[in-house]
């Protein structure tokens, strides 16, 4: 009809669209009805997120976001940062890091480490969230649990310094053989398998948190999976946990230390891995703290937000494959690359991410040596970036390897924006300076891990975050026996230094060993340190006292408070 009489079709289209308008109104009525029904349904499911307000002065509470659902709050098995953040608020162990990042008392009021034993004296007023006292038996149970082969705890190896721990974890001895004893409920005596001067620094790790046996057994395998399936020893308890949506923390009335837990509530109101969405929640005054990405920085500056920076303690580096059949095994080849790459250029001109520092050493700047930072006591060596020298090393390598031309070099990397920029920069610089052709092998997480373990690379972009506050958490990485030594670097000198660092009892001797490890890594070009990662973030002006940590809860609200006058 439209095609036959165009003049007529104008008027008919109008009347017909009026007809359509009636349908449209009906559709709206239908949608509104549907919305009401769905509203009821959603309400019935009990999955509603807590009402969020960045800073709520009347109720002394704040809201924040988590980047992912904490997957494992069973401290004997936990490994990830998100669970670590929550556990840092709701649990407390023997010792903890204080506001100045020094090791301090927690449930243990004092402690002593000798070459054969470590002894912890527990405070009498430390209580679980149900009011019962926390005793040495709770630690013994938790540590035995982590070592049981059936538990399958990934971090069980952190307990290996305790006598018989390794044999128990291998199923060769019963858990009762573990070198722990409690002469009285407030004293825990640890018999060490070998001298370990820094055993006290280890016990800060979540694997060492206490678990009470009767409660654990009553959860019947669901320990830590829900708010009521966990017994708390820290300043907060989980009041309400909606999986994938929100987690509400409330002050633990039985907690002993009145200097922590000043906020009545910490409401993790949103769980999302999207940084832009998190920032939108911050702008909407729903949350009190949000991380900033490079692309949000200009806006943050324009809005005059106070921007804060923090080095999160993780070091990133390029690893070489030292396996026999790889040309990256050649020292002069590695030196050629070492003399070509200017990490200051990478950090300040290429990635340009705020808070990042050019890498100079495997040991990041925050690690403490004997008294001062380790890097002040043992400064890292550096090379001058020199194209001619780099070329000379490459020619030497070519001669030694008997190559006519260099084949394509494979660089294994993750698939994310930061890695992409870096690997393209590497590709370009190495092409320009050395004439090398780099093939970038981008892989997603698990596939990259598989290739890292099987050694399917020449160069690898890797990194390491600390587990405990001692240089050894980085220092033993390139031991020939360490499975995280993905390039399979193997040197007797290095192994001997690492053994000293592990077992020497005097701190100066250990720190000297770390200084030597740092030098050996440099001389032998085992790896090339690239950068230390930084984080920038914004905090609501009325929220004070938020502590950022390198180890444990990366964001610590346990000392935070609201300042209404700010």
């Amino acid at each position: 009809m439209n095609s036959k009489s165009p003049s007529n079709s104008h008027t008919s289209a109008y009347s017909l669209s009026r007809q359509l308008g009636v349908y449209f109104l009906l559709a709206i009525v239908f949608v509104v009805g549907l919305l009401l029904v769905l509203n009821q349904l959603a309400g019935l499911m009990g999955t509603a997120t807590q009402e969020a307000q960045a800073v709520d002065i009347a109720n002394n509470s704040i809201s924040a976001a988590l980047s992912e659902e904490p997957p494992q709050l069973d401290s004997s098995k936990t490994t990830d940062a998100s669970s670590g953040l929550v556990l840092g608020h709701v649990m407390e162990g023997l010792l903890r890091m204080d506001l100045k990042d020094r090791l301090g008392p927690a449930i243990a009021e004092r402690w002593d480490v000798t070459p054969t034993h470590a002894t912890f004296w527990l405070r009498k007023d430390a209580k679980w969230s149900d009011g019962q006292p926390i005793t040495a038996a709770d630690f013994i149970f938790a540590w035995q649990l982590a070592l049981k082969p059936e538990t399958g705890s990934e971090y069980a190896s952190l307990l290996y310094p305790i006598e018989n721990a390794e044999a128990i974890n291998s199923g060769e001895l019963p858990t009762s053989a573990l070198g722990l004893s409690a002469p009285d409920p407030q004293t825990l005596v640890v018999k060490l398998a070998r001298p370990m001067a820094f055993f006290d620094k280890l016990v800060v790790f979540p694997t060492f948190l206490p678990i009470r046996e009767d409660f654990y057994k009553a959860t019947q395998g669901r320990f830590g999976s829900d708010a009521e399936e966990l017994l708390y020893s820290g300043p907060y308890v989980i009041k309400n946990w909606v999986h994938g949506a929100s987690m509400l923390l409330e002050r633990n009335p039985h907690y002993w230390d009145s200097t922590r837990g000043k906020l009545a509530q910490v409401n993790f109101a949103y769980i999302t891995s999207d940084a832009t969405a998190t920032l939108n929640f911050f702008k909407d005054k729903r949350i009190a703290l949000a991380g900033l990405q490079a692309e949000n920085l200009t806006e943050a500056l324009r809005l005059k937000w106070p921007i804060r920076r923090f080095a999160d303690g993780t070091v990133f580096y390029m690893e070489f494959n030292h396996r026999v059949d790889r040309l990256s095994r050649n020292l002069n080849f590695r030196k050629a690359i070492q003399h070509s790459l200017d990490m200051e250029e990478l950090v300040y001109k290429v990635t340009k991410l705020p808070g990042y520092m050019p890498g100079k050493s495997l040991f990041p700047e925050w690690l403490i040596g004997v008294e001062k930072p380790l890097r002040e006591e043992y400064p890292a060596s550096t090379v001058d970036i020199d194209r001619a020298e780099a070329k000379a090393y490459l020619e030497l390598a070519q001669k030694e390897l008997g190559l006519k031309d260099f084949p394509e070099i494979t660089l294994l990397t993750g698939d994310n924006p930061v890695s992409n920029i870096q690997s393209e920069w590497l590709q370009e610089v190495l092409k320009k300076t050395l004439g090398l052709t780099i093939k970038i092998d981008k892989q997603i997480f698990k596939q990259r891990l598989a290739k890292m373990s099987s050694g399917d690379f020449d160069l690898l972009l890797g990194g390491w975050g600390p587990d405990y506050n001692d240089p050894l958490t980085f220092g033993d990485l390139f031991a020939s026996w360490n499975l995280n030594n993905r390039g399979r670097y193997s040197s007797e000198t290095m192994d001997a230094l690492i053994l000293t660092a592990q077992s020497a009892t005097a701190t100066p001797d250990r720190m000297e060993a770390f200084g030597d490890i740092q030098q050996q890594l440099f001389d032998d070009v085992v790896i090339l340190p690239m950068y230390e990662r930084g984080i920038t973030y914004v905090v609501h002006p009325q929220l004070k006292g938020v502590k950022r940590r390198v180890i444990g809860a990366s964001i610590d609200y346990t000392y935070a408070y609201i300042d209404p006058d700010a």
């Binding site: 549907l34 349904l41 399958g152 909606v242 949506a245 832009t276 702008k283 997480f445």
Partner: protein, 311 residues
Amino acid sequence: MLRYTLKRLALGILTVWFIATATFFGMHAVPGDPLSSDKSTTAKIRANLEAKYGLDKPLLTQYAIYLKNISQGDFGISFTQENRQVNDIIKEHFPISAILGILAIVFAALGGILWGALTALYRNRWPDSVIMFLVILGISVPSFVIAAISQMFLVNINAFAGTTILPVGGWGTVWHMIVPAMVLGLSTMAYLTRLMRSSMLEIVNTDYIRTAQSKGLPKTRIFSRHQLRNAILPVITVLGPAIAGITTGGFVVEIVFAIPGLGRYFVEAIQQLDYTVIMGTTVFYGAFLVFMVILVDLLYGWIDPRVRINP
């Protein structure tokens, strides 16, 4: 009809079995495994973990155990959230995705039909051009862009109003659903608009419309009873897969608006190679898709007698 239904259901079960089998072997063929992580564990600890999850057994044995378990409706425990049953994850999070999906599909279907009919009425005139331009945008702009833009828009509206007009994210009330559902349904709506438009234009030239016109029926009656009703048929055909696609494909919207739906778990499980969650969600979604397709086919026969199959 009953025999046809039963036959379709039997074929559906076979399809689900095939999906389960293909996913199982495909997943195990992917390099990497659920137990690997940034930090390597010792050989002993790895062996403990493998024994715990039965990964130390031969693949075919694992497959047999697995089939036996899912036939009893047990998907096992998650690798990443060790203390949670995959069944619980689906039970808790699918209803949320479903509610969001229903709303999105209603937006998409109603919008698609209305805009499609409107563009057909105003063919080659300005309402047609404007809507078709928006349709192309809706189809080609990826949902994470639209999600981010609409969220930013909400932040600005709230800031401008000085109070919360609509929440920027979260879940629980109808106000949390509207914008995410629109974003989620947008590309389907755009697709349906195009489909509806071409289907309307095709029908204008059919014999029965001409018959109706020559009978002298009023235009509005021809439009609503003959043209619109017949034009909707192809739209209904694609609705089945679209419903499944929307309810399962919401992970971007779920992450941006911090909605605790199942889509997130589905995608994260694949990244983490969380075998049990991958299998659980894939089989569940597969069964859901198959069921929706069967349902639409049966519905189609009911709406359009021409396609009804004789027993």
